[in-house]
């Protein structure tokens, strides 16, 4: 053990009364859990997406507006759709007794109404949460052909202002800049010895980077490992049960082939494999 339980405290719907949610968040932290709070006005889809990205094992839903009968079951349904029904869902707020049995039938494990002691909520979560099945370490062998870290991706709101830190602050220089349209992202590369820093700026509100920033704020987005062959690395990851985002490699700009492994199975870090098309040629020559 020793892993703290990760809990997402979420406010579905439009209700702005978050005193209870904030008190619970703080209380569960004091009980030793890692708590992420979504902030207000989250749709069920946003909550499920955050829960998966954050790799939580419990979601606590809070509502005082009477919308719980529509919104709570929808969260449970979307989790099932994502194959993540092992995530424990609990609810709280102004919820009449009569609504509790149908909520339980819909997949909400417990409903805590006002007056509940926080330690009781924590106790319930501790005894009912499933510790996620992590793939067994096969003795520290790296994926076949991992050559090193290729680059570290950092999500930024505005590349123009962020660049200053890397150029003026750290003395790096920009060697490549590119807009990857289908990803809705502008990428900027600043190499440092063998590793590059990749700044990722969203160019649309719907791009994965924009969503990442909206959910977590700017910061570390992914780590990319240079591999001999992305396909082999993917196949290896798959046999070990890691969750793939890309089943097959795709083009990642700069003539690279890339593929992602879900942060849910890599302890919270989005992991990229990347293969330089020309690199192989260079090395063989």
């Amino acid at each position: 053990m020793g892993y703290p339980i990760r809990v997402l405290v979420a406010k579905p719907g439009l209700d702005g009364h978050d005193r209870g949610a904030l008190v619970i968040a703080q209380g569960l932290r004091d009980e030793g859990m890692e708590v992420i709070y979504t902030g207000l006005r989250q749709t069920p889809a946003q909550i499920v997406s955050t829960a998966l990205q954050e790799d939580v094992s419990c979601i606590g839903l809070s509502s005082l507006s009477g919308a719980h009968m529509e919104l709570f079951p929808e969260v449970a349904r979307l989790l099932r759709e994502q194959g993540a029904e092992d995530i424990l869902i609990v609810g709280g707020g102004v919820i009449p007794d009569a609504d509790i049995p149908p909520l339980k039938a819909a997949g909400i494990a417990a409903v805590f109404t006002p007056g509940t002691r926080i330690e009781k909520v924590a106790e319930f979560i501790r005894t009912h949460v499933q510790i996620r099945d992590l793939p067994l370490d096969d003795g520290g062998t790296p994926f076949p052909g991992v050559q090193g870290i290729d680059h570290i991706g950092i999500a930024v709101l505005d590349a123009a202002t962020a660049i200053a830190f890397y150029t003026q602050g750290l003395g790096l220089s920009v060697t490549h800049e590119e807009v990857v349209q289908d990803q809705g992202v502008k990428t900027i590369f600043l190499p440092l010895n063998a590793v590059q820093i990749e700044l990722l700026e969203p160019i649309g509100d719907d791009s994965p980077i924009a969503k990442f920033i909206a959910a977590k704020g700017p910061g570390l987005h992914h780590i990319a490992y240079a591999v001999d062959n992305v396909e082999t690395a993917l196949a290896h990851a798959k046999t070990l049960g890691y969750r793939l985002i890309d089943e097959t490699p795709r083009s990642g700009g700069q003539g690279k082939l890339i593929a992602f492994v879900h942060p849910k199975s890599t302890h919270g870090v989005l992991t990229e494999f990347c293969q330089h098309a020309h690199k192989g040629v260079d090395e063989s020559s």
Binding site: L14, A25, G39, T43, S65, P114, G115
Partner: protein, 552 residues
């Protein structure tokens, strides 16, 4: 014989007896952490004529500590204004007329969350929320239905609406127009207090700057066109519900009020032109004397702020008028009948504190929206206090109580400390942007939760005096189909309205938003052209952007 030696002697004797038989606790701090003494005497409050005149004065005179009217409830009771609204406009209209028949003297409208956040009932974000915590109003049609057969020149209407307050006020004015009631005869209040939304309640739309513009535009427009409208109700209620102490409630509310007056002055308005129409909204909690002290301190502080800080000349600008609601957050789902008692104590504090209008919560509100019978009982509570208790026969009956005066001074002193600190941070808007008020409130809320869990703070029926099971009572259920019904109505409206006028009105609104003119006339024209709340707010969202809080 003088008091001093006798008091000392009594204290000595009492300490000796306490040593043998201890008091219930070692110290008695209240929720604002003011330490309450064993006994208050004239020693605690200076009793000279000068100090009386400076700090208390007379009812209807500066600094208004004892009340804003010369006769208070001997002349007229407070307005009994029960907040109501749920489901469709038809259902809420029925509840309104029922409450008026039962002797309620003003209307108070609760809107559902989509309306409060400027979404039409058929917007994707409205899912599950339509008609739940209030009435669903998307268009002028809904507003006409809500106010059907209610004479707008006779009844004053309070509307709990903030971010889109300008739109709902516009709808109200257009309905008055259709009823043939001139705007200078309608009266009421819009809450219109956006700062507390960022702090505590969460139904914001736009960032602070354009929000402040909407508010000062309303001040300006109403001072000319709707002179009897209370253009803002600066609210401590929600700050308190979010977990603040009484002192924080008072201090943060007055700080927000200072920010509104500042903004209006910066927009070129003269303080005495708009200040008489500012009103306040406070919470009445369980600590009876602290609440009374809070209301009395609030009046004295506001009078001083208006006179000394803003240079107001009109006495109406210096009078703090306030609505009170009993504290929803103190009501328990366990043993709901106990809530009737809590509400009574809280309502008494509001009345002894000199409130101008009052909402008493219904006993079932910790479970769901009030049923008709529980809403009636809550109204009857006020009527009993007004007519049977004798609380209303003299002005400020607790004035001069050694304890109440000392506590009023203590509450005031601590509230000034907060206000001065917020000034130091750059004012309320800056303090909110830095998360200062939010953190203070959150800390107080968590302290309260822990005090309850440790049993230091008793909540009857929850952590003491519990029973094995509660009998369940009948709850109000909102029609689950209402979302679809409202969507259908909106589709009809959209297909029938004159396209050209609608488009032109929204275009004009957009131009005004980008430019500098007062937004109210453009919003009123858009409402006349059957633009919905969602469409109007979308234009403003496009031009103003949306507020995104920093996440906890």
């Amino acid at each position: 014989m003088s008091l001093e030696p006798r008091l000392e002697e009594w204290q000595r004797k009492t300490e000796a007896s306490v040593a043998k038989r201890p008091e219930r606790k070692n110290d008695f701090p209240n929720h604002s952490d003011i330490s309450i003494s064993r006994l208050y005497t004239t020693k605690d409050v200076p009793a000279t004529d000068e100090s009386y005149l400076a700090k208390l004065g007379f009812p209807g005179e500066y600094p208004y500590t004892r009340g804003i009217q010369p006769t208070m409830y001997r002349g007229r009771f407070w307005t009994m204004r029960q907040y109501a609204g749920f489901g469709s406009a038809e259902e809420t209209n029925r509840r309104f007329r029922y409450l008026l028949e039962q002797g309620q003297t003003g209307l108070s409208t609760a809107f559902d969350l989509p309306t409060q956040i400027g979404y039409d009932a058929d917007h994707a974000m409205s899912r599950g929320e339509v008609g739940k915590v209030g009435v669903s109003i998307s268009s002028i049609h809904d507003m006409e239905t809500l106010l059907q057969d209610i004479p707008l020149d006779k009844v004053s209407t309070s509307m709990t609406i903030n971010a889109p307050a300008a739109v709902l006020l516009a709808m109200y004015l257009v309905v008055a127009e259709k009823q043939g009631v001139p705007w200078n005869q309608v009266s009421g209040t819009i809450q219109n207090d956006i700062l507390k939304e960022y702090v505590a309640r969460g139904t914001y739309i736009f960032p602070p700057k354009p929000s402040m513009r909407l508010i000062t535009d309303i001040f300006d427009f109403c001072s000319r066109e709707v002179p009897n409208w209370n253009t803002i109700s600066i609210s401590g209620y929600h700050i308190r519900e979010a977990g603040s102490t009484a002192v924080q409630e008072l201090a943060f509310t007055l700080s927000n009020a200072i920010a509104y007056v500042d903004a209006a002055q910066k927009a070129g308005l003269q303080v005495d032109d708009f200040a008489p129409r500012l009103s306040f909204f406070f919470n009445a909690h369980n600590d009876f004397f602290e609440e009374i002290a809070k209301f009395r301190a609030a009046r004295r502080m506001w009078a001083r702020i208006m006179k000394e800080r803003f240079g107001a000349k009109n006495s109406k600008s210096m009078q703090l008028r306030f609505h009170t609601q009993t504290a929803g957050s103190t009501l328990t789902a366990q043993q709901p009948d106990n809530n009737v008692v809590r509400v009574t104590v809280q309502a008494m504090a509001a009345v002894l504190g000199g409130t101008q209008s009052l909402h008493t919560n219904s006993k079932d509100e910790a479970l769901a929206l009030p049923t008709e019978s529980s809403a009636r009982l809550a109204l009857r509570t006020q009527q009993i206090l007004a007519n049977e208790s004798g609380l209303t026969d003299t002005i400020d009956p607790l004035g001069g109580s050694y304890y109440v005066e000392a506590l009023t001074d203590a509450v005031e002193e601590r509230a000034w400390e907060y206000i001065n600190y917020i000034d130091h941070l750059g004012g309320a808007v800056a303090a909110i942007e830095q998360g200062y008020m939010q953190q203070e409130i959150h800390r107080a809320a968590y302290d309260t939760q822990q005090a309850i869990e440790r049993g230091e703070q008793v909540v009857v029926g929850v952590n003491q005096f519990t029973t094995a099971s509660d009998e369940s009572s009948e709850l109000l259920r909102v029609d689950p189909e209402i979302g679809q019904k409202q969507a259908l109505r909106l589709a009809t409206l959209r297909s029938q309205r004159p396209l050209q006028a609608h488009k032109a009105a929204l275009q004009k609104l957009r131009e005004t938003a980008v430019g500098e003119g007062n937004l109210m006339p453009a919003i009123i024209d858009a409402v006349r052209a059957y633009a919905t709340i969602g469409e109007i707010c979308d234009v403003l969202r496009d031009e103003f952007g949306e507020y995104r809080p920093s996440v906890f």
